[in-house]
Amino acid sequence: MNSRKIFATGLRVMAYCILIVWAIIALMPLYWVFTTALQLPDEVLSMPPKLIPTVVKKFIPLYLQGDKDQALHILSESFKSVRVLFTDIGLPKWFFNSVLVSVTATLGILLLDSMAGYVFAKKQFPGRDFLFWIMISTMMIPGQVTLVPMFILVTKLGIKNSLWSVILPPLAMVFGVFLMRQFMKTIPTELIEAARIDGASEFKTYWKIIIPLSKPALATLGILTFMSVWNSFLWPLIVLNKSYLYTLPVGLKTLQDKNLVNYGLLMSGAAISAIPMIIVFLFFQRYFIKGLTLGGLKG
C-alpha cells in the first residue's frame, strides 16, 4: 500500500516535471521575441545573451532610487526599434491593413456562412444535399492547387494590389458552412415554425431567432476566421506588391529581406504582430477549443 502510494506520487511529480519543461520549451521562442524586442540596441548580439532585458531589470530600481533621467533614457533606448518601425517603416499602415482585412473578412464569413448553414440545416429544398456535398468535397484540396488560377483571376478582375484581393477569397472557405450547419441542426425546428405562424418573414426568422441562438457557434467561427486571416501569409505575399498595402506577415517578410541581421528591429515587428492574437487567445480561449473540437471530431 505504502510503496504504491510513493509510486503514484513519484509518477505525479514526474508528470509535472515533463509538463513544465515542455511548457518552457514551448514558450521560449515567444519569450525570446519579446526579450530581443526590448533589449538595448548594443545588447542584442551580446555574448552571453541577456536572458532578461536591461530595461526590465533596471527601470523600476533606477526610478525608485530617484535617477529618473537614467531610467527614462534606458526606457527610450529600449523602444528605439519600435519607434523606427512606427516612423521610418510603414508598420502602423500594415497593422491597420491587417485589422481591416481580418475584421471585414470575418464579418463577411459570419453573415454568409450563417445564412448558408441555416438553410442547409433547417430547410428542405431540391438539390440541398448535392450542393452541400459539392462544397464540402473541396475541403480536401490543398490551397496550392488554386494558387495560380486565383492569381490570374484576381489579375483579370483588376483587384490585384488592392485589399479586396485578400478580403474576398477567404469568404469562399467552406469550413464555416459545415460548422454552422452542425450547430444549427441542434436548434429546435418548432421555434422556426412558431415564428412562421406568428407571421415573421423568412429574413426576420433568421435574424431574430436563428442568429441570437447561434451566438456560441458564431463566436467560435469568428475567432477561428480572424486568426486564419490575420496569420495568412502566402496569398497576401503573392497579390500585394505595394508597401502601403502589406498586411503584417507580408510586411515582416520584406522587413526581414531588407534587414537580415537587425534582429532587434525584426523582433520588435514580430512582437507587435503577435500581441493582438495573443490577447484574443487569452480572452476567448474556450471558443478556440470549442471550434477545434466541433470542427474536428464530427467529420
Binding site: 521562442p29 445564412m115 490570374i152 474576398l168 525584426l266
Partner: protein, 319 residues
C-alpha cells in the same frame, strides 16, 4: 345508364387529357414551381455559393486546365502532358519530394506522439492546471508562422541562443541553417519543438468523453495506471489519432512559410519542399502551367496518403 355514361364521359376524357398535358410539361414546370416555392432558401444560399463558385470551384477546374497549357497573357497554347513530363524529368522535383517526405515522416509521428503524451499527463490534473498547460501549449499555434519562423531563424543564428546553450555544455557552435547537412534538420527540429497545440486539445477532449465506468471496472480488476492507459485509453483514442495523422500529413506536405523565411530552400536545394518549388515555378519563373501540374501532383500524393492512412488506421470504436 347510357345518359349517365354520356354525361360522365366528357369529364373523363377531359380529365384524361388534362392528365396527359400535365405529364408532358411536368419536368420544367415542376422544377420552376419547386424553386419558386423555395426561393427564400436559394436566396439565403446564393451569396455563399457565388463566392464559392468564383473563388474555389472555378480555380480548381482552371488549375486542371492550366496544367495542360503553356500560359501566356495573350497566347495560351495546349501542350498536352508536357508540363507533367517536365515535372517528372527534372531532378529538382524529386529533391523537393524527398525533402518533403523526410520532413513529414519525422514531424507527423513525433507531433502526434508528443500530443498524446502531453494530453495523457494533463488529463488527470485539476481544472486550473489543465487550463494553464493547455493554454501554454496552444499559444504558439495562434501566433503567425511568420513570427515563429523569424524568431527561430534568430535563435539559429551563429551568435544566437541555441549556440550559446551548446557552448554552456561545451559543444562547438553549429551552422544550423547555413550548412546543407543541418538546414533541413533544423527546420524539422523547429516543427517538433513547437508544441502540437491542436493535438493536445483534441486528445484531451477525446479523453474527457471516455466513460468513467470503464476506468472503474479496470480499477476493480486491479489494473495500474499504465496498464489502464495502454489497454483502455489508447485504443479508444484511435479515431483522434487517425484524424491527427491525416491532418498532420496534409499540413506537412504543404510546409512552406518556414522554408521561405528561414532558408529560402537553400543552401543549394537542401530544404526545397514541394510547395516551395510550386511557389518558385509560379512566381519566380512564371511557369504557370508547370506550377499547376506540380500542384496537381501534390494533390494526388496527399490523396493517396490520406487514403492509405484511412485504410490502415480506421476502425469503428464503440463504447
Amino acid at each position: 345508364m347510357i345518359f349517365i355514361k354520356g354525361q360522365i364521359n366528357p369529364t373523363e376524357v377531359g380529365s384524361r387529357r388534362r392528365l396527359f398535358r400535365r405529364k408532358e410539361k411536368q419536368p420544367t414546370m415542376h422544377l420552376l414551381k419547386q424553386i419558386g416555392k423555395h426561393k427564400w432558401d436559394y436566396l439565403f444560399l446564393l451569396p455563399k455559393f457565388s463566392v464559392f463558385l468564383v473563388f474555389i470551384a472555378l480555380p480548381v477546374v482552371w488549375a486542371f486546365v492550366l496544367s495542360f497549357q503553356e500560359y501566356q497573357i495573350f497566347d495560351t497554347v495546349w501542350v498536352g502532358l508536357d508540363n507533367f513530363k517536365a515535372v517528372f524529368t527534372g531532378d529538382l522535383f524529386y529533391k523537393a519530394l524527398w525533402n518533403t517526405f523526410r520532413y513529414t515522416l519525422v514531424v507527423v509521428p513525433s507531433q502526434v506522439m508528443i500530443a498524446l503524451i502531453l494530453a495523457s499527463l494533463i488529463n488527470p490534473l485539476n481544472r486550473k492546471a489543465q487550463t494553464f498547460f493547455r493554454a501554454a501549449y496552444y499559444l504558439p499555434t495562434v501566433t503567425s508562422v511568420v513570427v515563429i519562423s523569424m524568431v527561430w531563424r534568430w535563435m539559429y543564428n551563429s551568435r544566437g541562443l541555441l549556440n550559446y546553450i551548446l557552448s554552456l555544455v561545451g559543444v562547438d557552435a553549429i551552422n544550423w541553417l547555413g550548412s546543407s547537412n543541418w538546414a533541413l534538420t533544423s527546420i524539422i527540429m523547429m516543427a517538433i519543438l513547437t508544441p502540437p497545440g491542436v493535438g493536445v486539445i483534441l486528445y484531451l477532449a477525446a479523453m474527457g468523453s471516455i466513460p468513467e465506468s470503464l476506468y472503474e471496472a479496470a480499477r476493480i480488476d486491479g489494473a495500474g495506471p499504465i496498464t489502464t492507459w495502454w489497454r483502455i485509453t489508447l485504443p479508444l483514442l484511435k479515431p483522434t489519432t487517425l484524424y491527427l495523422v491525416v491532418l498532420g500529413t496534409i499540413g506537412s506536405f504543404q510546409v512552406f512559410a518556414q522554408v521561405l523565411l528561414m532558408t529560402d530552400g537553400g543552401p543549394g536545394y537542401a530544404t526545397t519542399t514541394l510547395v516551395h518549388l510550386i511557389y518558385k515555378s509560379a512566381f519566380r519563373d512564371f511557369e504557370f502551367g508547370l506550377a499547376s501540374a506540380q500542384a496537381i501532383v501534390l494533390f494526388g500524393i496527399v490523396l493517396i496518403f490520406a487514403f492509405i492512412q484511412f485504410k490502415f488506421l480506421n476502425t469503428d470504436v464503440e463504447y
